[in-house]
Symmetry: C2
Subunit: 332 residues, 2 copies
DNA sequence: TTGTAAGCGTTATCAT
DNA sequence: ATGATAACGCTTACAA
């Protein structure tokens, strides 16, 4: 293995000078800099990032924690993060939690041990996740909460404007004459779960439609549960005429249940749903979908993170991304 | 930050003893071991993996290089790798190359700098990728080639049995009376590209069907190119009556082209294709697909890697995974 | 502008 | 069974 020492010898300078050249310090004469650069090339020197990390007490890796690597929503986010990271010569430590707080906590500790320069986390539980993340903050490692906020923590946060999205979707249904509108929402302990239900409720309230608890179904975002709630709603004595489904994976199950019952997602039950997934678009090409800017969510989160690394002081920011309602697909 | 030193002080022992306890060395008295364990818990000590990595000259991270993080095929592989890695207390450095050898080479150097314990790579080019990977091997870092072999390199390799899969698929068409069978294959510089074309050719030869160069279309696996080749095949004076498409993403484009021309992928042109992707299943639910064991590919690659870390000596192995032909879907 | 040397937190060698 | 100490490769005061 080639080290700074070898480069220093060949260039006839000290290791300190080599380091200065490598890290672009200004106070090096052009002539020595050139000699060092030549030696680096000649030896094929590659810096040992581990040694550097130990010395400066932070690595050039950023931790990324997501609940589901198989879910395209999060993968697209990761793609956005990666582009920013690589531009800063940083690398991604990717952690998949399956929404298990325990697995998440384990990963946080591993990442801390790796001396990550920063953490981007799509938390599995606003409150529970705060516990390990607080340890990260105590180590002065910058954190960005992504898609899901963290309770009682002063961190930069990147979210979708869930309330507005949900309100808009609900009003879309109201404008088409629906009064009995159901919602399959996510859990209260996750930002998108809670806020999307709020948006739904706000829309009804704004139009003087009373809330009917039987129409509000709270799940933990798991598809199987969505299926059950869809059944329950459809089996109601007076089933809803409109339905808002609050995540892409859940939407697929709802569409399946409708198919089994030979119900059309537009005529028999006016459906509006979050997220553009291939499968839901396939099952029904033309119902309105709430589009999130997934790549941009990741990209922005990463940019906030790198800004934060430069300046620890400024107050934490929250960025909200607007959504769009897309009525038709162009699948085929 | 809590260090071994702090633990040592509290337990009234030396750092050496703490390290011994932490790493499960046998020659420590039960009594001192207990004291150390208590001190660790009391202080909430977490080992600094960076310092450890520098000292032992290898980290507990494994590098994973894939061409396309948005492609479910590779994501499923990563999932398989992750489960094995976490079971060994290792973490994943995930690198997405977009099939650019330059980007890949850059990542390899970064990973080397991180002192990875091993590398699993789905190469962007059998020959070109060998160049940076050879540097990895020279550093005595174990490598597993996954889905795509590496030229002139003695490394453990995990592949799909592409030739058999392709032969089987082609024979499926022959058995149904087709004589003019087209193939949209991948590039020769990638194992699945080359081998799948070979399987196709073997099947034709075995049945005395002469090769028609006009029916053999070699792409670089990009969907847009697949679309063009599909058009060219369909526009032939005597178009094929059967078609083998050698990747999931390409299949989607072929199906789209068929749709535009109002051709049925089963009646008008007997289609067989690699990979079960949601979208292709949506566009046509019932044509035969060649199924690969993606999760198992990743899982096995990771297991080979960890075995290799334990034993550098034994000869490199190549594992081939069989495929299955699935004729119907259960999407809805 | 450049060099010397300390030290980051571990592990492992060599004593005891 | 345990302790003292060197070393891993780098960066950064501090000195010159």
């Amino acid at each position: 293995m080639v080290t700074v020492k070898d480069v220093a010898s060949l260039a006839g300078v000290s290791t300190a000078t080599v380091s200065r050249v490598l890290n672009g310090y200004p106070n090096v004469s052009d002539e020595t800099a050139a000699r060092v650069t030549r030696a680096v090339a000649q030896l094929g020197y590659r810096p040992n990032r581990v040694a550097r990390s130990l010395r400066v007490q932070t690595s050039q890796a950023i931790g990324v924690i997501i609940p589901d690597i198989q879910n395209n929503f999060f993968v697209s986010i990761v793609r956005g993060i990666e582009d920013v990271a690589i531009a800063h010569n940083h690398i991604l430590l990717l952690c998949n939690t399956d929404d298990h707080p325990a697995r998440e906590e384990n990963y946080v500790d591993l990442l801390l041990g790796e001396g990550i320069a920063g953490l981007i986390i799509c938390a599995s539980d606003e409150k529970q996740s705060s516990v390990p993340v607080r340890r990260v903050i105590e180590q002065a490692v910058p954190v960005v909460a992504l898609d899901r906020a963290l309770s009682d923590l002063e961190v930069d946060t990147v979210l979708t404007d869930n309330v507005a999205a949900s309100r808009e979707a609900t009003e879309y249904l109201i404008a088409r004459g629906h009064q009995r509108i159901g919602v399959i929402a996510g859990p209260d302990y996750l930002t998108p779960g809670r806020e999307r239900r709020q948006g739904y409720e706000q829309a009804l309230a704004a139009h003087g439609i009373p809330l009917d608890p039987a129409l509000i179904r709270v799940t933990d975002f798991r598809p199987s549960q969505a299926r059950e709630e869809a059944r329950a709603l459809l089996d109601l004595p007076k089933p809803p005429t409109g339905l808002l489904v609050c995540s892409g994976l859940m939407t697929v199950e709802v569409l399946r249940e409708l198919k089994v019952r030979h119900l059309d997602p537009m005529r028999d039950l006016a459906l509006v749903a979050f997220d553009d997934t291939v499968l839901s678009r396939c099952l029904c090409p033309d119902f309105p979908l709430i589009m999130q800017s997934t790549y941009e969510l990741g990209h922005t989160a990463a940019e906030l993170l790198f800004e934060r690394m430069r300046d620890t002081e400024k107050p934490a920011r929250t960025v909200r991304f607007e959504t769009g309602l897309m009525e038709r697909s162009e699948l085929a």
